[in-house]
Symmetry: C2
Subunit: 349 residues, 2 copies
């Protein structure tokens, strides 16, 4: 396999360059055969990288003063941010210098820059943000998590195809099951867009097994391999799950500190609690992927810690090695779904 290069936006995220460099240092220990192009302020990055012995051999700094902030509108990012650390990291993928880019910066800006610099695959109108959701069994691929706040029938069908390709690659499933998030499982439930999408997925031959509508409690239950929704609903659902997990973690900590005996109980139960602790730690599942572009871009949580950023780099590495973009593109071509869908779509929307 040829050498892998990963482009990093060093200035994105709530804690900036220090978190990114620490995370990269953790990732280089796990991933021994990849190099990193690190985009950001050289004056800031040099001492941070020097502090990690051996890290300077694995990274190449590309200097830029410009950075995208949390407040930058997507349109501003496109107009004025192409020479920012985020824009240059994505451009490195476009130019073939890197196989994937990772950023913990502003989601809307990253989406807009990625769309302009990489362009969407043939047959895809809008990219989607996908991630793996931990369940009790196999992980579930969920998309869109907020790349688009609105999605029509055709977008949702494209998300289903891309999500299935993602599941084939990452979960190794030949014919993944795909569900559509809705307020009930019966065919008559939901608004017009979700009902029409369900109808189309039932009627169309695609490289996936359509399982129908799934309710919100199906996300954690892992009842399907791929769960499709619009970016508004998906973003709120995933953040609701995170908030619930955070509240329960806090209540669990309270419970174990309720007194001396409880603390001993905690100490004794501690080994068994590790799986739960890992499940509840958002840094264990960090890294969402923009699907549907001519190139791979991974979004880290803005408030990830170094361990979390290293997790996102791990996701980027797996996707790049699996050549995910090519697989999605092949799926779209092989199954000629686009023409077929275009015909079916007449009169639906």
């Amino acid at each position: 396999m040829s050498q892998l290069t990963i482009a990093l936006d060093a200035m994105g995220g709530d804690s900036g360059a220090e978190m990114v460099v620490e995370g990269t240092a953790i990732a280089t220990k796990r991933i021994t055969d990849a190099n990193f192009l690190v985009f950001g302020d050289q004056g800031v990055l040099d001492p941070l990288i020097a502090a990690h012995g051996g890290l300077s051999d694995r990274v190449e700094i590309r200097h830029t003063d410009l950075e995208i902030t949390a407040e930058d509108k997507p349109s501003n990012a496109v107009r004025r941010g192409q020479k920012s650390s985020m824009g240059l990291a994505v451009a490195a993928v476009r130019d073939g210098e890197a196989q994937v880019a990772v950023s913990a910066g502003n989601t809307g800006a990253l989406m807009a820059l990625s769309k302009v610099l990489l362009r969407t695959l043939p047959g895809i109108d809008r990219p989607a943000l996908a991630t793996l959701i931990p369940t009790r069994g196999r992980d579930t691929v969920m998309l869109d998590l907020g790349a688009n706040v609105e999605a029509g029938v055709e977008n949702l069908v494209q998300f289903a195809v891309m999500g299935a390709a993602f599941a084939r690659t990452v979960l190794g499933l030949e014919r993944p099951t795909v569900g559509l998030l809705n307020v009930g499982v019966e065919e008559l439930k939901g608004h017009g867009t979700v009902k029409a999408t369900g109808q189309l997925l039932r009627d169309t031959t695609l490289p996936l097994e359509f399982s129908g509508f799934i309710e919100g409690d199906g996300i954690s239950a892992g009842v399907v391999d791929v769960l499709v929704t619009d970016g508004f609903t998906g973003n709120i659902a995933i953040k609701t799950a995170e908030g619930t997990a955070k509240l329960i973690s806090a209540m669990l900590a309270d419970a174990f500190q309720a007194g001396f005996i409880s603390r001993i109980g905690y100490f004794l139960a501690n080994p068994g609690l590790n799986a739960l602790r890992s499940h509840l730690d958002p840094n264990s599942h960090n890294g969402a992927v923009f699907l549907g572009l001519n190139g791979l871009v991974v979004k880290s949580h803005g408030n990830a810690n170094p361990k979390g950023f290293a997790t996102a780099i791990g996701v980027a590495e797996r996707m790049a090695r699996a050549n995910l973009c090519r697989l999605i593109s092949d799926d779209l071509t092989n199954f000629g779904h686009h023409d077929q869908l275009e015909q079916k779509m007449v009169g639906v929307e």
Copy 2:
């Protein structure tokens, strides 16, 4: 205070009449000064009620053979379900025989029957389903949880006013804080409807304190007293939270059964875990209220157990005693918001 009468749909819910009667028996021990009108199949109900000593003095059975099933469409419920146990329970509220109705049946059917039989309050176009969400601090009122799968700007503003009235009544707050669920907190985030609603709530004088946009993780964090969203998003968010809590409960149970030492740990930590266990038990927070109607209707979870159904009866009792409908109606009139909004609304949608 005059005698309270609560109408019950005895045939709704996944486990039917037995669960309802058991739940009523629990509720009558807590609520000693209310009577119950129980609508359902007398042949089924008689022996169930006879099995609870003293219960027959507190309940009056009103026989009907007809029942609404989970598969009934809302339109069918309205056309053919008015003499069903659900329809008759709601009609008892309309006719002043009861002050509130409780059903664990089909949500869409209950909504449709309630709207037709009770009609909406002046100034309210669509009712909304509201519940109290447990957080680490004070409970949060959240609506709509699925009464409407779509909501326009005017509906969302009406939900905000009704939610605030609910918070004033149930949480005893003079000027509740109200947030609008969105994919980000900045004013430019979200789709057109949520942005226009945010603008209108910022600009309009209403009996509430608008706190702006709230993300999904704000639901459990309890950052506002009232959280407003459309019924599609609200339904998926609340079920996602339930699913997450269920998964974590299962993982916690696994952790404590990981071995003999873990079990001792569990035993020792047990008293401290009670608050968490109660938080994780959906039957501790059962009972959502339809707001915006000329009459009170409470929806219990379809899969509630008797304890959960008793919790929903408790919610019904509190709302009826507080005269919630009157309070919401007064709020709408006093603040003359409707005329003011109608003027502002021109050109928004």
